[in-house]
C-alpha cells in the first residue's frame, strides 16, 4: 500500500540516498562499533527505526517509507548487518506485543543500536520441529528459572539481550505449552559458546542456560502464548531476509564462474560454457521470479506463488553453483597456500553453499510448505499434534 505521493516518495528516496552515500560505506559491516556508529548517524539524521514511534527514537514514518529505505540501503554495504535479527525480529515483536513497561525499558536502545539482541528458538533436539523444544521455564516466586540449551543463535556473542522461548507446561500438546521471555545475557548462568562453520565463519553460538533467572515482567505476552508470538517473529524474519531487493537482475554466481573459467583458461570448453550459461540462466530466472512477485504486489494484485519460492530457488542456485564451481575451478578449490587469502575465500565461498538450504527452514521443509500451503496438497498424518508434550518422543530422546 502506498500512502505516499510520487513526489513524497522521490523526495524521501533522495534523502535516503544522500545519507547512505555518506555513511553506509564508511565502516566494516562485521565490526560492532562501526555498525553502532552507522546507527547513531542514522538516529541523528532521523532515519533510525523508520516506521517505529518517535517516542522511542524512531522516525515515526510509514511502511511505505520503510520499504523505500530498505530498497535504497540494498545498493550499499550492509552497514548495520549485525543488527539483522535485532531489528528484523526482536524489535518488531517488542513493538507489537511488548507491554508499555517493556517498550519503555527496551525499545529506544534497540532502535538506536545501543543494545543488540538475538533470537533463541532452535535447540540441538529441536530444529525443523522447533515446537518440540526442551528448554524449561519454571515459576519460582516472582521469577522464572530457565534451564536448557539453545543453538544457532546468531550474534549471541555480541548481544546484550535475547528473546527466548521455553516450555512452561509439558502437560499440554507441544505448541500450547511454550512461553516467550526477554533474557539479559549478562545474567548468571548464561554461557555462550561460539560455533565454527564449514566456511570458517563464526556467526552462530550455543547458549547454555543453567538456572537463569528472569523477572516475571520480562515474559512477552501471556504464559503459554509463546508459540503464537514465535510464529510472528519467524514471519518478520522472512520479511527481513527477503526485503531490500532491487530492480536489478544480477547473476553473481555466474560472474564468479566465468571469471574462474577465464583464469583457468577453460572458457572456450563447450561443456563448461554450457554449464556456466546454465548458471546465468538460473540466476536470472530467480531474480525475475522475485521481480514478478514485487510487480504483482505493487499492482495491488494477489501475488502468485513466487514469494514462497525465493528461499528454495536460492538453494537450488547454490547447489548448482557448488557442482559447477568444483568442475570449473578444479583442484585449486580444494587446497591453497595458507597465506593466499583470495584462494581460501574462493574455497570457502563454495562450501558455504550448504547454508541456505538448511538455515531458516530447510529445503525439505520449504517443499512441504510449498506443497501444502501453495499447492494445497494434503498434510501427512501427524503423530504429535494432540499428544501432551510429556508423552512425545522428542529431540534425541529414545
Amino acid at each position: 500500500m502506498s500512502d505516499l505521493s510520487i513526489e513524497e516518495s522521490e523526495a524521501f528516496r533522495v534523502r535516503c540516498q544522500m545519507f547512505l552515500t555518506k555513511n553506509a560505506n564508511a565502516g566494516d559491516p562485521a565490526n560492532l562499533q562501526d555498525n553502532r556508529a552507522f546507527l547513531a548517524a542514522a538516529s541523528r539524521a532521523g532515519l533510525a527505526g523508520i516506521a517505529y514511534p518517535q517516542e522511542f527514537g524512531g522516525a515515526g514514518l510509514s511502511v511505505a517509507h520503510d520499504r523505500i529505505w530498505r530498497e535504497e540501503k540494498a545498493a550499499f554495504n550492509y552497514a548495520d548487518r549485525l543488527f539483522i535479527i535485532s531489528h528484523g525480529m526482536c524489535l518488531p515483536i517488542i513493538n507489537e506485543f511488548g507491554t508499555e513497561s517493556q517498550k519503555q525499558t527496551y525499545e529506544a536502545d534497540m532502535i538506536s543500536g545501543r543494545s543488540l539482541w538475538c533470537q533463541m528458538f532452535s535447540e540441538p533436539g529441536a530444529g525443523s520441529d522447533v515446537a518440540s523444544l526442551q528448554m524449561t521455564a519454571t515459576r519460582d516466586g516472582d521469577e522464572w528459572v530457565l534451564n536448557g540449551q539453545k543453538v544457532w543463535t546468531t550474534y549471541a556473542h555480541l548481544a546484550q539481550y535475547g528473546i527466548v522461548i521455553a516450555r512452561t507446561d509439558p502437560s499440554v500438546p507441544k505448541h500450547a505449552g511454550i512461553s516467550m521471555f526477554i533474557v539479559d545475557l549478562a545474567s548468571p548462568g548464561v554461557e555462550i559458546r561460539p560455533i565454527i562453520q564449514i566456511d570458517q565463519g563464526r556467526e552462530f553460538n550455543e547458549v547454555f542456560f543453567n538456572d537463569v533467572r528472569v523477572a516475571a515482567e520480562d515474559i512477552v505476552g501471556s504464559v503459554n502464548e509463546g508459540w503464537r508470538l514465535a510464529t510472528n517473529m519467524l514471519m518478520y524474519e522472512r520479511v527481513a531476509i527477503g526485503s531490500g531487493q532491487t530492480d536489478q537482475i544480477t547473476q553473481p554466481r555466474y560472474e564468479e564462474l566465468a571469471a574462474a573459467a577465464r583464469n583457468r583458461g577453460v572458457i572456450a570448453d563447450p561443456v563448461f560454457r554450457d554449464r556456466i550459461a546454465d548458471m546465468y540462466i538460473l540466476e536470472t530466472c530467480k531474480a525475475l521470479v522475485a521481480l514478478r512477485t514485487r510487480d504483482e504486489v505493487k499492482a495491488g494484485k494477489t501475488p502468485g506463488p513466487g514469494g514462497s519460492l525465493g528461499k528454495l530457488l536460492g538453494s537450488v542456485v547454490e547447489w548448482k553453483f557448488r557442482a559447477i564451481a568444483y568442475e570449473v575451478i578444479g583442484v585449486s578449490a580444494t587446497a591453497w597456500d595458507e597465506l593466499d587469502e583470495a584462494r581460501r575465500d574462493v574455497a570457502m565461498n563454495i562450501v558455504t553453499t550448504f547454508r541456505v538450504g538448511i538455515a531458516g527452514g530447510t529445503d525439505e521443509i520449504q517443499r512441504n510448505i510449498i506443497g501444502e500451503r501453495v499447492l494445497g496438497l494434503p498434510r501427512e498424518p501427524a503423530t504429535d499434534r494432540d499428544t501432551p508434550y510429556r508423552d512425545l518422543l522428542v529431540g534425541t530422546l529414545r
Binding site: 570448453d269 563447450p270 561443456v271 554450457d274 501427512e380 498424518p381 503423530t383
Partner: protein
Amino acid sequence: MTYLDELREWLEDSWDPELTLRTWWAKLADDGWSQPHWPNEWGGRGLSLSDATVVARTIREFGAVAGPPSIATRLAGPTLLIHGTDDQKARHLRGIADGTDAYCQLFSEPNAGSDLAGLQCKAEPDGDDWVVNGQKVWTSHGQIASRGLLLARTNLDVPKHAGISYFILRMDQPGVEFRPLREMTGRSFFNEVFLTNARVSSADLVGGVDNGWTVANTTLGVERAISGGAELSSTVVAGEVTGNLDRAVGTFVSGVTSSAPAKESSSKRLMRVVRRNGRSDEPLIRDGLAALYSLERLIALNTQRDRDFQSSGREFPGQPNLAKIAENQAVRLARDLTFTILGVAATVHRYEEDDVSEGSVFDQPDTDGLIETSLFSFAPQIMGGTDQIQRNILGERILGLPREPSTDKGVSFRELTKNS
C-alpha cells in the same frame, strides 16, 4: 557323468527340428529338462537355479529350443511348488512345464497399483466355487493365457492384507473379458481384464482362504529375483492360443548361440547413431555418452557382484531394488541423450507400421526403434514397483529407517479410505 554330459547325450538322441513344438516341449517335460530346477517328483531334476540357467544355455548352444518361458514357468510354477496342494501341483504343473498352458498375472487394479493390498476385486463363495467380480489392469499376455494368477478379496471385515485369496483362474469363460490398453508408445502390450461373475473352483484356491497375500509375495519375490538374472528358457510364447504348439520346433531356433540374446546397451546403440550422424566430436554429446556408459558398466558390475555373492552364499541386501533404480536412471539418461543426438529428427516418428508417410529422415533402421524405446522408458520406473516405492523399500528394509505412520493398518478393509 555330469548333468551336462547327460543333457548333451539326451539332446543328440532327442532333438529333431521337424517335431512339433508341442511334442518337443512334451519330451523336455517328460525327461525333466524343461524345468530342471523343479523337484524330481514334480517333473524337474532338483538342480539349482543357476544350473537350470546353464541347461537352457546349453540347449540353445546346441541349436535346440529350451523350455517354455515367461509368467507360467517363472511365476506360477515356483508359487505352486511352495504353496500348492499336491492336487493342485498334479493338475497344473505339467501344463506349465510342457507349454500347453500360458499364464497371465491378475494382480494390479486401477485403484490398487502401489497399494496392491488395497485391491477391490471380490470373490464370493457359491457352493464349491467362488464367483469373481472386478477389474484388473496391466495384464500382459492376457489374450493368449489359458490360466490367470488371480488375487481377489474374500474378506472385507479384516485389515486389507488379511482378506485376500489367491486363485488359479481359467481364462476361457464368458465372465472374462479383455480390452487392450494402448500405451503412450502406441502399442498395446497390456490389457484391462473385466471379470463379471467369473467362476473359479475352490480346488484352485492356493494357500488357503484369506492367505493370498503370503502367496502373492512369493510370486512377487520370485519375479524380482529372476528379473535381475539370466534367461532361464526360450522366448517362444506358450499356450494353445498362439498356434505355436503345432508348428515345427525348428522354426523357433534363434540364430544366437550364446546365452540369452545379448541386448545391445543403449550407449552402444547411441554411439553408432552419433558416428553415423557425424556428431561424435561434439563435447556435450561425448560427455553425456560417457556418463551413460559409466552408469551401464556400474550396473553390470553390481549384477556381477550380486551373482558372485550368491554363489558363495553371501547376500547383497537390496540389490534387486538398487538394480531397478539404477537401471531406471540409465534409461532416463538414455532417453534424454537420444533426443539430443537425434535433434529435430526425433520429432518425426511413425506409430503405425502401415503409415505410409515418410517416417524416418536418416535412412537408418535404428531411428524409429530409438524413439519407441524412449517412449517406453517411462514404464520401468512405474511398473513392478515405482521408483518411489523402491526407495521406500530400500530405506526401510535395507537401511532400517522407520516407516511412516500408517493410517490403514489394523483398519478393516470395509472402513478404509479408498478411491471411489
